[in-house]
């Protein structure tokens, strides 16, 4: 009889439940189980501030604290859905006008571009836009960059010195790098770099670079962290990554960590600076509060947070980057309209044609 089956199932589940429940008091704050951690101070004034929903492709480990600061200072309750940037973009597209999201906080400009192309983002007020340098925001004013991420080459300090590294990213197609390189071709930031290469140098040149690197049999990794770790372990001598993964490892593992970053100069495509950015959905019924959130992300407080906690480049409010990083002006990134990085389809096609993806 089913009830007897259930009767056997329920006690077991309850046992687990009790075990879990017994543990709960040890962390009373965690019991609520939500991210919309409405601090006592904020909930008192939340009726005044209202609430917004943010879809964040940026990880909670990185921005959770910052969002809490916003709640505390404005009294606006922020409900955050954390997931992968592209999956959230796809979700917003499927939701259509019914989307519960007010704000989309994305890991890269491409996802924001895709939403803008589907006409899902509202134009931001000029006051907000103007606080960000023109090259780090949408020309149509639909999104603004929040923090900058430089492309870099991470290298093993035992096997390579900076002098061994080429002046241009094209130098890595030299056969002497055979078997010594690493990359993460499924990674969004790598694909954005390839798109930039296509925009800057043309498809033929981009193909030539990819073929050249591929001929050097690079090791393939799942993400930037894996590339950085592989470089430190000597599994590879050099790898193509975003700048901050190394800084994070240095903070975690100390100066003895076996890898360092190398930055290209002179407008080399290898010195691309991409952004994590934010946009307000045009279906949002809380435009004002949503804009307030965007404004907060560009405030000195938030920009300092990115400089100190995520080791990214602050893009607004005159905040200086982490002292371990070369200043933005020194990197001499190429002249490029980031909104042109939306043609990921062409990039994927290219990567697939060459058998890289």
């Amino acid at each position: 009889m089913l009830p007897s089956a259930v009767r056997r199932l329920v006690p077991a589940l309850m046992t687990i439940g009790i075990l879990v429940a017994c543990g709960t008091p040890s962390s009373p704050t965690g019991a609520a189980g939500t991210t919309s951690t409405t601090p006592a101070t904020a909930s008192a004034s939340s009726s005044a501030g209202g609430s917004i929903t943010v879809y964040s492709g940026r990880n909670e480990e990185l921005v959770g604290q910052l969002i809490e600061q916003f709640q505390t200072s404005t009294g606006i309750t922020v409900n955050v859905k954390y997931a992968d940037t592209a999956e959230l973009a796809a979700t917003i597209m499927e939701e259509g006008a019914n989307s519960p999201a007010d704000v989309f906080f994305a890991q890269d400009a491409g996802a924001l571009g895709a939403l803008a192309a589907e006409d899902r983002l509202a134009k931001l007020p000029d006051t907000i836009l103007q606080s960000v340098e023109q090259r780090f925001r949408s020309p149509e004013g639909e999104w603004a960059g929040v923090s900058g991420r430089a492309r870099a080459v991470v290298y093993n300090t035992k096997n390579v010195t900076e002098a061994d590294l080429p002046q241009s990213i094209f130098g890595f197609t030299d056969p002497k790098w055979k078997g010594r390189l690493g990359w993460a071709p499924t990674n969004g930031s790598f694909q954005a770099f390839v798109t930039a290469l296509r925009v800057l140098e043309g498809d033929a040149k981009a193909r030539e670079w990819l073929e050249g690197i591929k001929a050097n049999e690079p090791k393939v990794y799942e993400n930037n962290t894996a590339v950085v770790k592989a470089a430190a372990a000597g599994e590879i001598d050099a790898g193509f990554v975003n700048h901050y993964y190394l800084v994070r490892q240095l903070q975690e593992q100390g100066e003895s960590f076996g890898a360092r970053n190398y930055y290209f100069t002179k407008g080399d495509p290898g010195a691309l600076i991409n952004v994590a950015g934010v946009g307000v959905l045009n279906s949002s019924k809380n435009q004002e509060a949503a804009q307030q959130f965007v404004q907060f992300l560009l405030s000195a407080e938030a920009q300092r947070y990115f400089a100190d906690k995520t080791y990214e480049y602050p893009l607004a409010a005159g905040v200086q980057p982490n002292s371990a990083l070369p200043p933005l002006s020194e990197i001499q990134s190429p002249e490029l309209d980031l909104s042109k990085l939306e043609d990921l389809k062409g990039t994927l096609q290219l990567l697939q044609d060459l058998g890289i993806l």
Binding site: M1, L2, S4, A5, V6, R8, L9, A12, L13, T15, I16, G17, V20, A21, G23, T24, S26, S27, G30, A31, G33, T34, T35, S36, N59, E61, K81, Y82, D84, A86, E87, L88, A89, A90, T91, E94, E95, G96, N98, S99, P100, A114, T186, Q191, K219, Y221, E222, N224, T225, A226, A230, G234, R248, E252, L344, K345, T347, L348, Q352, L357
Partner: protein
């Protein structure tokens, strides 16, 4: 054991067909329930069809591009070899732990089943850090023997290893319960007629296990098609990875949908193969009486290789991944990382997974009963549709439900109800498989007797059928519980805003490479799931006292 679920035997006498009860029409409420479930299962497929139809004509060209065909071929190769490996590992393990006198078999019965609780997105990392280039094994071998390089892990072999290691328990569990239900009388008859032990195993035991092996293998094959964790971490370009790449890189939902439809077709082929192996054979005992307890096969000197085999499997599939995650935890604690025991997330995981398990069983029952007891073209189609979504990567199901719920049932959107509904959609086949194979081993004559004594069909189901198939219901529920505990994409996209489970807590940390922080929730998933596994296995335990 008295009469009941384990009174099984197989008689493949052609011409002997189940007739009496089958001539009755299936009860209407059962059909209605089954239709409801089938309708729900069709949602994601309908979404894919609509997406693919509205896409531009270019899609067809893309689908038949040589590149797509290569990926398709390698996916089929991966699914086939993983399934074959799981059978080769799972069947001997099941026999050793259930039917032999191997020392420590009870412990091994529990330990060899546990790898099922390790999510591939954790197990994959563990394999890379243990067996990858410059991983723990290479460092060890390097120190001892100066080994510079291990065979390349990334690509086919890595994906094969990860998937086989963490999914062979599907075959193991299914075959164990099959073996436990076998009537040893047939084997004894075979021995008395002069067949040796090997021949008896091949000619008598193994054919009787065919439905259990097929049921386990089906779950493995479809799981392999849908998995993203292992193939992305070990860098094997499978179909599900190709689908993710379309979503993640190109924002091309139409092409992703077309690719996903190919997976649905592939599922149909795999299902067809499995149904073909079933044939029309009967697997229940045809006579009444008590099954005598199975005498344990004496292994003699073979017990040593047997123990070594079991130990090696446990070592690679369980000790290694758990060891790696524990190492992350210890290293993190040493470096001053706070121990984050996320109890609220653990509780969230447990109760949503338990709810999914209960609902999945309720949804699977009408389909299984119709398919076994009222077998017809239609009930077979129902069963097939119920499996339809199982090979689809989670992101596809999640986005399909995002679409439906946000458009048509906005009140339900991003509620726990919808998330649990998605779990049921994804994992129902696991409950269906176990319930179905237990039902097959129960003779309909008991139900017929109850009918003839004046019970209504509904009462027969409740008072006779369900108690008899309880073992299948429980293990089905446990399988759904385990997989729901690990589920990531549907939890992230469909769960209420801010809803955290152990799986999302693990993802949050690993996505940014904070392995020390991922360790505590990852270990909690394993520990909590292991408890529920012990619950499934308690029959194994008591059986062997």
């Amino acid at each position: 054991m008295s009469v009941g679920p384990s009174t099984t035997a197989r008689s493949k006498n052609q011409g002997v067909r189940e007739q009496p009860l089958h001539s009755l029409r299936a009860p209407l409420p059962l059909i209605m329930l089954a239709l409801l479930v089938v309708g729900a299962m069709l949602l994601p497929i309908a979404y894919l069809v609509v997406r693919a139809i509205t896409a531009d004509a270019n899609i067809v060209q893309q689908l038949f591009h040589p590149r797509t065909i290569t990926v398709f071929g390698s996916t089929v190769l991966l699914a086939t070899s993983v399934t074959a490996t799981c059978i080769l590992v799972g069947v001997p393990l099941a026999w050793l732990t259930v039917a032999s006198d191997m020392p420590g078999r009870r412990w091994f019965a529990v330990l060899t089943a546990l790898p099922l609780v390790i999510p591939t997105y954790i197990g994959g990392y563990a394999i890379v850090s243990a067996l990858g280039p410059r991983g723990a094994l290479q460092v060890l071998l390097g120190r001892l023997f100066g080994v510079e390089r291990l065979p390349e892990l990334y690509g086919f072999w890595g994906a094969w290893l990860a998937l086989a290691l963490f999914s062979y328990p599907y075959v193991l569990l299914s075959v164990q319960s099959g073996l436990r239900g076998l009537d040893p009388a047939l084997e004894e008859a075979s021995r008395s007629l002069g067949f040796g032990p090997w021949r008896t195993f091949w000619r008598v035991t193994l054919p009787q296990l065919r439905p259990s092996i097929a049921a386990g293998a089906l779950l493995v094959a479809l799981y392999t098609l849908s998995d993203f964790g292992a193939v992305s971490l070990l860098q094997f370009n499978s179909f599900s990875r190709a689908i993710y790449v379309q979503y993640r890189g190109a924002f091309d939902r139409d092409y992703a949908a077309a690719l996903a439809l190919v997976l649905v077709l592939l599922t149909a082929v795999v299902l067809g193969a499995e149904m073909w192996t079933r044939g029309r054979a009967r697997y229940h005992r045809s006579t009444v009486g008590v099954v005598k307890p199975r005498p344990r096969a004496k292994l003699g000197p073979w017990r040593w290789p047997a123990i070594i085999f079991c130990s090696v499997v446990v070592l690679i599939a369980l000790v290694m991944p758990v060891g790696v995650v524990s190492f992350w935890l210890v290293r993190g604690l040493q470096e001053g990382e706070p121990l984050r025991l996320v109890w609220s997330a653990a509780w969230n995981s447990v109760y949503t997974a338990a709810a999914a398990a209960v609902f999945a069983v309720f949804a699977a029952l009408p389909i299984a009963i119709l398919a076994v007891r009222f077998r017809s073209r239609w009930t077979t189609v129902f069963e097939g549709i119920a499996y339809g979504g199982y090979a689809l990567p989670g992101i596809v199901i999640a986005l399909a439900l995002v679409r439906f719920a946000s458009q048509y049932t906005p009140l339900l959107y991003q509620t726990l109800a919808l998330m649990i509904f998605a779990y049921v959609l994804r994992f129902l086949p696991q409950a269906l498989g176990t319930i179905r194979s237990t039902l097959l081993s129960v003779s309909p004559s008991l139900e017929e007797a109850a009918r003839s004594l004046g019970y209504s069909p509904l009462r027969v189901t409740l008072r006779v059928t369900l108690p008899l198939i309880r073992p299948g219901i429980l293990s089905g529920a446990a399988l759904v519980f385990l997989t729901a505990m690990k589920e990531l994409p549907t939890t992230l996209l469909l769960g209420p805003i801010g809803f955290k489970t152990l799986a999302t807590a693990t993802w949050t940390a690993t996505a940014e490479g904070f392995f020390a922080r991922a360790a505590a929730p990852a270990l909690l998933i394993i520990v909590v799931s292991a408890f529920s596994m012990l619950f499934v296995l308690r029959d194994t335990w008591s059986d062997q006292h």
